[in-house]
Amino acid sequence: MNKKMMKMLYKRKTAFVGSIIILLVIITALFAPFVAPYDPNLSDLDKRLMPPSWEEDGSQEHLLGTDHLGRDLLSRIIYGTRISLLVGIITVLLSGIFGTVLGLLGGFYRGFIDSFLMRLTEVQLAFPFILLALAIMSVLGPGLRNVILVLSITGWVMYSRLVRGEVLLLRELEYVKAAKALGQKNRKIIFGHILPNVFPTIVVVGTLRVANMIIAEASLTFLGLGVESSIPTWGSMLADGRNYITSAWWVATFPGIAIMLTVLGINLVGDWLRDVLDPRLRTS
């Protein structure tokens, strides 16, 4: 008993830390113009590639240093939170809704719809995500909107598989059969009885997926087929930093830490949510 309680407490503490991190990120994103010391696109070529303030050539003016165009790293990271959160949340919402609906329909009605859904899922899963995303991006062209589109299109599978599995179990429960016996319409059964009970699962997965989406966006931008370069994102900063890694390690390091911390925070909170809402999902 004692070990179990300690475990719950441990989770609470880490979840607490995680939620603080997320809160900080959100606040930073919302109040970026007030928090950032400089304009993220303001380039001062005199001050190119300055190291962080605690290094020899650094200055207090640029806490984390500057990039190859003399732009303040800290400000760019702060503004980067906006894109990351935006992309993360919107894509999860879009792909989540789409995937959930498909999963509900397939799992409830079975038959042809379900088989079709399963095959479609498998076809999509046969393609490595990155390649699929890259291929589509190369066709559509770079840009924030396209990135969101691509991530949503490739992301729905996660949800539909999970939801479908849940629905298969739920539809056998007696209260669903009772509703059917009462003559309730299928649509109302799905959205009134089944969906509310699938919801916790979706919330948990959705939360964790925000983290994946943030990394995915950064990856695409890093490879040059993501968000346009005029918008400061962590991915593009890493892409820039790559070229200067040997001379100016900080340009790539700090954005990466930002990503890592954000994702860490999300993972911690997501884990806790999972323990609270749906013990069946545990893979860690």
Binding site: L173, E174, Y175, K177, A178, A179, K180, A181, L182, G183, Q184, K185, G192, H193, P196, N197
Partner: protein
Amino acid sequence: MKLLEVKGLKKYFPVKIGLNKTAYVKAIDGVDLTINKGETLGLVGESGSGKSTTGMSVLRLIEPTEGSIYFEGKDISKIRNREMQKYRKDMQIVFQDPFASLNPRWKIGKTIGEALEIHKIVPRQQEEARINELLDIVGLPAESKDRYPHEFSGGQRQRIGIARALAVNPKFIVCDEPVSALDVSVQAQIINLLHDLKEKLGLSYLFIAHDLGVVRQICDKLAVMYLGKIVEVADTEEIFMNPKHPYTKALLSAVPVADPLAKREEIILSGEMPNPMSPPTGCAFRTRCIMATDKCVEDRPELRVIENDHQVSCHFVNRTGGRENVQVFAAQTT
């Protein structure tokens, strides 16, 4: 007046085995039933006999493979869903598991209200009043409607299930082992409730159970089921006093009796119930029957009327094979 008449009902569940072969679990293999208005027919048998499947098939919660279901004279076995909607008002079900039969996220009021809304039983403004009434009928306080299922005990949840079934003003209710999951002390309350409701509201029941003691209190007639087939049908007391089918006798002999001096002969069945995927040829019961002969292997016995309203499916019903005349059950003293 016949409320429900079932003829030749069959339900085979396909099961894939091997490369291209499909076997069938013959859950129901030719069942005939009749329930008159105001009557309660008990359907008894072991687990796996097909009783629950029968109950669900009659309401078309499971689609029958074959057979006709006549409700108030009309065959509803194959009508389309839209048409079936109308009958849903008249035929309801109470489930066995009080924990799974209510949506855990819905307040009780919403659960019962759903029934009212689907068929527009009462106008919106009167919904709440009607819910209060229904709760009162089943013996629960009106405040219950704002609570969640997990706040109630098993017996209370069963009452809620009954209230939900009553909400649409049905004529016929399938009670699928409604008390099997409850404590013995609670069982009696629920049975009494069901009995009272039957009298007050003029309901008819198909009462499914595996406990013979329970059915005696509420059922007018009994049908005994074995491996998807009905083996005996008669008035309840007739079955208890004068069972004909060997299986029925075995079932009865297992029921405990209050009188320690009553002369009883316990019949112990050998073997187990065969696999419904490959039922024995001829009479399904022959593998465990002491009277089985070659005829039982070849000929499947039909349900035949032997006395007024007493039907049996066995080749040796009129034979006095020694065990026939033993009175297996003491006369009911209540």
